[in-house]
């Protein structure tokens, strides 16, 4: 044919590789924490308090990113902190995604009473201010990793539900859905094999975004001391502690912040990159 279609191909973006690289490091750090962390993250040693990072004068070998005011190794604590961040991102992200997307698909495709009930609940849910809602939930559920994850799921499923429902509604109006009916597909099959592949890119984008949000929410809750017990290092907790000694030991604050920042950024970029790479319509 006489046209330029198909000649324009996107490069597999640096976006995907860079964010993928960071997330791999993140996951490996979390999984292999006991093997790779140079020190015991909980070991306090007042002789070693507030050691600067390795490249600053006065550092001690073996404490690459320095130590905090109790003499605990910052690098090891960041590595162990990745465990909590990873658990929250995976469990909270996936659970939120599954619940929200399933309800959104059902509401958008079957319409009728299912849609009315789900949409009404979403409306009511969204009327609560999320931060207050979270603090309230933790107060009721008690602190701890499970509570944090539950709180995130309970608050954030509406985000998926709304977006997925709207997208499903859009797709349901397309002729390829009518065409599936003419072909004799059952409703369920039409939903799963025709509509879902077209809603999936939106779901993936939301999921990676949600994983980043979950990491932040956990950090915020740790920061206000509502998350996990103090013997498990968390990035939010480290940031809270680092804040108090910012003038004496900036590294206690800065390094966990950097870890948090790159992780959240990478999740979002990874989602976008996956789409660029694998969505046949964009390719």
């Amino acid at each position: 044919m006489l046209d330029g279609r198909g000649l324009i191909r996107r490069r597999a973006g640096a976006r995907l590789w860079l964010s993928g690289l960071w997330l791999t490091v993140f996951v490996l750090a979390a999984v292999l924490a006991p093997l790779i962390s140079p020190q015991d993250p909980l070991a306090q040693d007042l002789m070693l308090e507030r050691l600067p990072p390795a490249w600053v004068a006065g550092s001690e070998p073996g404490y690459w990113l320095g130590t905090d005011s109790l003499g605990r190794d910052v690098l090891s604590r960041i590595i162990y902190g990745a465990q909590v961040a990873l658990a929250v991102a995976l469990v909270a992200g996936l659970a939120t995604c599954l619940i929200g997307s399933a309800l959104g698909l059902v509401a958008g495709f079957y319409r009728g009473w299912a849609d009315r009930i789900i949409s009404r609940i979403v409306d009511i849910w969204m009327a609560f201010p999320p931060v207050l809602f979270a603090i309230l939930l933790i107060a009721v559920l008690g602190t701890g990793l499970t509570s944090v994850i539950l709180a995130i799921v309970i608050i954030d499923w509406t985000r998926f539900c709304r977006v997925v429902r709207a997208e499903t509604l859009n797709q349901s109006k397309m002729d390829y859905v009518h065409s599936a009916k003419v072909a004799g597909f059952t409703r369920l099959r039409t939903l799963l094999s025709e509509i879902l592949p077209n809603v999936l890119p939106v779901i993936v984008a939301l999921l990676t975004l949600e994983m980043g949000i979950a990491v932040i929410v956990e950090a915020i809750l740790s920061f206000v001391n509502l998350s996990i017990s103090t013997d498990q290092p968390t990035w939010g907790g480290m940031i809270a502690e680092g804040r108090t000694s910012i003038h004496q030991a900036w590294w206690v604050l800065v390094f966990p912040l950097i870890a948090l920042f790159f992780t959240v950024l990478s999740f979002a970029q990874f989602g976008e990159g996956l789409r660029e790479r694998f969505d046949p319509v964009l390719r």
Binding site: L2, D3, G4, I8
Partner: protein, 292 residues
């Protein structure tokens, strides 16, 4: 005689891949006359219209050639000046009346904005001009229609409004890009008659993009047949329909539906004709890159 619009040796290509989209196109359009631009999908018809109006997609770059509008080469003036020139002298009638109007704004301002913003008219003058052109395209109760939203009007009415809007600034050149493909045959006839009448009354030059030779035979004086971005035939309507010269033109004519002679119409373009046309283009390309 040189035309009001004069395109000379215009070549364009896709910036990324270097694929050629227009191949040394020559088109001359005297003031007050109508030229059809025909060819199959992807031949580059819209591309020429867009080049004239200065709205080519970013991915497309002009390699060489001139576009003279009223004697001035649009490709040699700075962009701001070019926009002003085009805004004052040319207008577009777009293809799809459903998407060409902003759905959340009333009709009136959508017509007057251009007059006020680009030509610097006073609001009152623009409004009275809008009423005038709406009446000219036979819209009943123009005052009321000015206050309506696009979705409150049928497709045919919306296309009339786009035509009114194109003629509002008294342009000397109008590019109509398949203005009736979204409409049914009876409405198409009304709209085409309307465009022809307005064009004749105002002495506007009209560049009419279409793939339908039936329409060309009714509204155009001259036509250019495009194939793969190359003008393969440039002739008058009378001569073309009496005896098309290029084999591709003949094939295109035989493909056009003609219910008065069903046996001789709707014939697909033979592969041999396509092969020959492609060979001709390849030869021209080779000669071109040899001298360039």
């Amino acid at each position: 005689m040189s035309g009001f619009l004069e395109i000379r040796g215009l070549s364009a290509r896709l910036a990324g891949t270097g694929q050629r989209l227009l191949r040394a196109v020559d088109i001359s359009l005297p003031a007050g006359s109508v030229r059809g631009l025909v060819g199959e999908s992807g031949a580059g018809k819209s591309m020429i219209g867009k080049a004239v109006l200065g709205v080519l997609p970013k991915a497309v770059e002009i390699v060489e050639g001139e576009i003279l509008l009223d004697g001035q080469d649009l490709l040699k003036v700075p962009p701001a000046e070019r926009r002003r020139l085009i805004g004052a002298k040319a207008a577009l009638i777009p293809q799809d009346p459903l998407t060409a109007l902003n759905p959340s704004r009333r009709i009136g301002p959508q017509i007057t904005d251009r007059l006020v913003d680009i030509l610097g008219w006073e609001k009152a003058r623009a409004a009275s001009r809008a009423l005038e052109v709406l009446a000219e395209v036979s819209i009943p109760e123009p005052e009321r229609v000015m206050r309506l939203y696009p979705h409150e009007l049928s497709g045919g009415m919306r296309q009339r409004i786009l035509i009114a809007s194109a003629f509002a600034a008294e342009p000397k050149l109008i590019v109509a890009d398949e203005p009736t493909t979204a409409l049914d045959v009876t409405v198409q006839k009304q709209i085409l008659k309307l465009i022809s009448a307005l064009q004749a009354r105002h002495g506007t030059a009209l560049l009419f993009v279409t793939h339908d030779l039936g329409v060309v035979s009714k509204v155009c004086d001259t036509l250019s047949v495009l194939y793969a971005g190359k003008v393969v035939e440039d002739t008058t309507v009378e001569r073309f329909f009496a005896a098309p010269q290029h084999p591709y033109s003949r094939a295109l004519l035989a493909a056009t539906p003609r219910h008065t002679d069903p046996a001789a119409s709707l014939q697909p373009v033979p592969q041999a004709v396509i092969d020959a046309a492609m060979a001709e283009i390849a030869a021209a390309d080779a000669a071109w890159s040899a001298h360039g």
